[in-house]
């Protein structure tokens, strides 16, 4: 029994890590008033880049760095289109995802040795290392405290992002820009810079999410490696009501469904695999419905008021 809990906990966290990175990235992006639906595509390009660079350079850190850069770059495209050119955020985000999915698939076919496929290659990967002392605890030791570096970094990142958002001057600016950019502008906060900065930062975290898939969780490249995690992350943002701490709960929940699915398949259930694969999406829909109902009553914990709306300083009469 103890082993079962340990193993479910381990897989939950491992599956939840990339979800949580992507969710945190989207939370910060949306807090600034920018909706980035390019999460799925950004993660996928991040995953492909991370693996390709790590494989050829045999340096996992170089792979990670490349994924972060590429994630930031893809978010920069979105930022330029939606903030500077004031393009529709939904259309731009969907375009980024379509573009990213295609690009990643192409990279997967051509960036293996000698221009061949990357599918099935063994590359460097982040290994799970038990933490000193904490790693010796029963149950949580071999699960929560035996993870890879990217997961450990996440343990630090969540409270930092929470503190930054609610307790610092910059977090205040971020929240204000997403809620009422005009008010922030009048008080001397640069709306454009703020939105660019957090959209790019969000993209970097999405790139990180992709890197964890190909270098940590799945340790290799496969077509459609993200498998809809980007979309789940967008749903998780709503589930978390734009709060980094609540995002953890969401990521654990969805990572857990993922883990259970593995266990059930391993136990040889007769339920078709397709149904198990459906569960996360089914829950996504359920959560969306629940939150939307709930929102009517508790409008005040809802989306940033200026989410999805381009900001134009009015120069009219």
């Amino acid at each position: 029994m103890e082993d079962l809990i340990t193993s479910i906990l381990t897989i939950t966290i491992r599956a939840g890590t990339s979800l949580l990175y992507a969710t945190l990235g989207e939370i910060y992006t949306e807090r600034s008033g920018v909706l980035n639906l390019g999460v799925e595509g950004t993660m996928m390009v991040g995953a492909a880049t991370a693996f390709a660079v790590a494989y050829h350079s045999d340096n996992i850190w170089l792979g990670l760095l490349a994924a972060l850069l590429v994630g930031g770059l893809m978010a920069l495209i979105h930022a330029f289109l939606t903030i500077s050119l004031r393009a529709d955020q939904v259309v731009s985000g969907l375009a980024i995802t379509l573009f990213g999915t295609g690009l990643a698939s192409f990279m997967g076919q051509r960036l293996g040795p000698g221009g061949t496929t990357m599918v099935g290659l063994q590359g460097p990967a982040f290994q799970r290392i038990p933490l000193p002392v904490l790693g010796d605890l029963p149950v949580v030791g071999p699960s929560v405290f035996t993870q890879d570096v990217l997961t450990y970094f996440l343990y630090l990142l969540v409270p930092v992002l929470w503190f930054y958002l609610y307790k610092t001057r910059f977090g205040l600016h971020l929240r204000a820009v997403g809620e009422n950019p005009q008010a922030a502008d009048v008080m001397g906060v640069n709306v454009t810079t703020t939105r660019y900065a957090y959209t790019i930062f969000g993209g970097v975290l999405m790139g990180m999410a992709g890197a964890h898939l190909s270098l940590g969780y799945l340790k290799g490249w496969a077509d459609n490696i993200t498998g809809g995690r980007g979309w789940i992350a967008i749903a998780l943002v709503i589930f978390a009501m734009w709060d980094p701490i609540r995002a953890v709960i969401g990521a654990v929940l969805f990572g857990g469904i993922n883990a259970l699915q593995f266990r059930m398949q391993a136990a040889g259930t007769t339920i078709p695999a397709s149904f198990l694969n459906m569960t996360p999406y089914f829950f996504t829909i359920l959560v969306l419905v629940m939150i939307t109902w709930w929102e009517v009553v508790r409008k005040r914990v809802g989306a940033p008021a200026a989410l999805g709306i381009p900001y134009v300083r009015e120069e009219k009469r």
């Binding site: 809620e179 922030a184 009048v186 001397g188 005040r300």
Partner: protein, 509 residues
């Protein structure tokens, strides 16, 4: 106090000119404001008051002219620059972030508070300022919890916290009850006594006389006069502002009420947040009568109009038209029942801005002949219809095919009025019908409403302009937090008595 004592003005604007495409908003405007005085900037809508103050607060850049602050020439590129020079502005639409607290709004954008602001200290500083200037507000409250009057105090606190010594307020009393206005007037005086220069924009003559030491009158972008309030009067100011003699009284025949046209009984409804907005409203309006609804914005007026016109569900009570129950019927059934609606949001609800005027005018009549020919529209009949209404209601437009968005506010309202009056079968719900209109357009709208009344229409007039209500209404009902505080006859009451009811005091039985 005032002109003689301090030698150097806090603000000198010299030859300020600001052009917008097709409009000369400010034409070589000179303005001086001294420390320790309250100065009124008086003018009609579109006279250039707000533009001038937006130049001073760094939002707009002037095309010509210079600004001197305490004698030094400055270039203001942004509101941030302006505040660095001690200039702060309270806009008509508050610039507050609803989901943040009072204190968070106050320190927003300040870099002197450190990376991790110590909020307890900020709270103490805000409380001290509140005390000093009589601006009572809880620094830990969220903006969405506050009344409009309190939100305005937060806006002022934001400026004081930044050490502003030149304060600009854009139509500050538009959203306040008479009592809140009196409080504000005391705050302005206190700020002036502390040596600050206070400028407020207004088009209300009473306020100029009550609040200000001096007044500068703008008309069509130019300064027409700068006077001491002690040496002028309302009649003179009105003439300066409008450029001709102004009749303060509209001709109004005594009301000859007929049978009850619209009856609202114990009406209840929720607002957008799901909270009760109407809590048992009852009244009757007879044919040939105007019932005015007074109240501070947000006390259920909008919801009342929406429930009557079928745009919002009633959760209880009834609406009857000539005895027929139309509660919670569809807007179309209600239109057929004879109710016309002049909505408060002219551009968002009243018009389709991108469609031509002719289509906007036809929007209620199109279902029936002569505009409809079976399932098709008769375009030539629509053109004739539009031409007739454009002429009858004197809508100034290049052609009936011009998109409605290109018209001025006054002409847009004429389009709405023309359509609704033409479609009306006896009942008119008019919500803020003259809001944002200049004196000429306002007069036309009011005349049209009185004419309809004399023709036997029952009119529900919702307005935030007490003068307008007193002038037009045969009876005034005062709405406070979704309840009628009392119904009064304008000739038998005073604005102060209505003001008390607007603040929640019931009329003595």
């Amino acid at each position: 106090m005032g002109i003689e004592s301090p030698p150097s003005p806090a603000v000198q604007m010299r030859g300020i000119t600001k052009r917008f495409p097709g409009v000369l908003a400010n034409d070589h405007v000179d303005l001086e404001v001294y420390p320790g005085e309250v100065m009124a900037l008086l003018g009609e809508n579109g006279a250039g008051k707000s533009t001038l103050m937006n130049v001073l607060s760094g939002l707009y850049r002037p095309d010509e002219g210079e600004i001197l602050i305490h004698g030094w020439p400055v270039h203001l590129h942004s509101p941030r620059d302006a505040i660095a020079h001690g200039i702060g502005m309270v806009h008509q639409h508050f610039m507050l972030v609803e989901t943040l607290t009072v204190a968070e709004n106050v320190i927003l954008g300040l870099d002197t508070v450190g990376w991790v602001p110590r909020m307890e200290e900020v709270h103490r500083q805000i409380e001290a300022l509140s005390e000093q200037y009589g601006l009572r507000v809880d620094p830990t409250a969220y903006i969405w919890q506050l009344s409009v009057g309190e939100q305005q105090r937060v806006e002022i606190l934001k400026l004081l916290y930044r050490g502003a010594d030149i304060l600009i307020l854009d139509e500050p009393t538009a959203v306040l009850t008479p009592q809140e206005s009196a409080d504000l007037s005391r705050t302005l005086r206190r700020m002036a006594d502390e040596g600050k220069a206070v400028i407020f924009i207004t088009h209300k003559l009473d306020e100029v006389m009550a609040f200000a030491d001096r007044v500068t009158v703008l008309r069509a972008g130019k300064v027409v006069a700068t006077l001491r309030t002690a040496e002028t009067n309302k009649v003179e100011l009105a003439r300066l502002m409008v450029g001709r003699e102004v009749l303060f009284r509209l001709e109004k025949r005594t009301c000859q009420p007929g049978e009850v046209a619209l009856e609202v009984k114990d009406l209840q409804a929720l607002n957008d947040k799901g909270l009760p907005a109407l809590r048992g409203v009852s009244f009757q309006i007879c044919a040939g009568e105007i019932l005015g609804i007074a109240g501070v914005a947000g006390n259920g007026q909008r919801e009342l109009a929406e429930v009557i016109t079928g745009l919002r569900r009633a959760t209880g009570g009834s609406v009857r038209v000539y005895g027929r129950d139309i509660t919670n019927r569809s807007p179309r059934e209600i239109i057929e029942a004879g109710i016309s609606h002049i909505p408060g949001d002219r551009v968002g609800v009243g018009l389709v801005p991108n469609l031509p005027i002719s289509d906007n005018l036809a929007m209620k009549a199109y279902r029936h002949p002569p505009l409809a020919r079976g399932p098709l529209l008769d375009r030539s009949a629509m053109r004739d219809f539009a031409r007739r209404l454009v002429e009858a209601f004197r809508i100034a437009t290049p052609s009936p095919q011009t998109p409605a968005r290109l018209l001025s506010g006054g002409n847009q309202q004429r389009v709405v009025l023309a359509r609704e009056i033409t479609a009306s079968k006896g009942i008119l719900v008019a919500v803020y019908p003259t809001r944002g209109l200049d004196v000429g357009a306002t007069e036309a709208v009011r005349k049209a409403l009185l004419e309809e009344r004399d023709k036997g229409a029952a009119i529900l007039l919702i307005s935030e302009d007490l003068d307008e209500l007193m002038q037009l209404s045969d009876r005034i009902a005062v709405l406070y937090e979704g309840q009628v505080m009392g119904v009064v006859v304008p000739e038998e009451t005073t604005p102060e008595a209505i003001g008390l009811m607007m603040a929640g005091q019931r009329a003595e039985e």
